[in-house]
Symmetry: C2
Subunit: 171 residues, 2 copies
């Protein structure tokens, strides 16, 4: 999507954002990164995405300044994929789409979000109703009533935890 045959000629910010974020899987990758997924193989397990596509999407996100690649061991060289500040700023977008989806498409949420400090669930704007606007790192996710995946990565994510806190699948 990002080469040549884009949303050329569009004059709005939305089209520029969609060239980067509008490809299939991309927003789900960012969402999982917010949820703490960092490793190539963990994204792959959680998303059931072809490796070639994941590789392509991560490359585009890095190119676009949304994620960055960081080496976490040298022998053999291994990398993890982290959100940049620009990427973390996508939290309101992802939360807003989730809110819209639950209101308008229905379905039980597998995860809920509350302000870690005071335990109050976030309102649709993404703010804490008691404390006002909060950072993604102040948000705690905890299991909701909806169905959950049972792969090791998802299971590690089903414990209450803050956004951006690294997911460590057991074994």
């Amino acid at each position: 999507m990002a080469l040549g045959k884009d949303y050329v000629g569009q004059d709005c910010s939305l089209s520029r954002a969609l060239e980067l974020l509008g490809e299939r899987w991309t927003l789900l990758v960012v969402q999982n990164a917010l949820y703490g997924v960092r490793r190539f193989s963990d994204f792959q397990v959680r998303l059931d995405i072809p490796k070639a596509v994941l590789s392509d999407r991560l490359a585009h996100l890095i190119e676009g300044g949304v994620m960055r690649k960081s080496q976490y061991q040298t022998a053999p060289p291994r990398y993890e994929y982290l959100l940049t500040d620009a990427g973390i700023e996508l939290w309101p977008v992802i939360f807003a789409i989730g809110v819209w989806s639950r209101r308008n498409l229905g379905g039980e949420p597998p995860r809920l979000f509350r302000h870690a400090e005071c335990g109050t669930d976030l309102v649709p704007s993404g703010d804490c109703p008691k404390c006002g606007p909060i950072e993604p790192a102040e948000v705690e996710m905890y299991p909701g009533p909806g169905p959950k995946r049972m792969d090791p990565v998802s299971r590690a994510m089903n414990r209450p935890r803050r956004l951006l806190e690294p997911v460590i699948p057991e074994q």
Copy 2:
């Protein structure tokens, strides 16, 4: 994207929303509907989108309850495409992506948004800083410094006007 090879197995609201909204062009169609575009040919002129794709996307949006088709003349039968309430509720999502894009990808905005009643520009959350949360119908768009398309539909959109107010290209 919406048939068979979807984001099956994903457990989150985001993936359900993306099955409907994540296809190429779809969010741009919704955005233009919020900006007042209603007719098939006007979407087509504004977006430079293949007719077959536009037809497909409108059908999916109707199926998903985001838009509805309304007859505006009988001989010959002509239809316009309107947002449902669910569709109008996508305004915060679209505004949030636009805000993110301007902050993180740069570029001059061709359009700015203010509260129609008091004339104050909206804050990133989409609220009016003086009056608090407001409805999309209370938002007025007006030309910003960025480049603008010059097709008849876009030209009609470059005058200050409220969201959802129908665009009527001259001629």
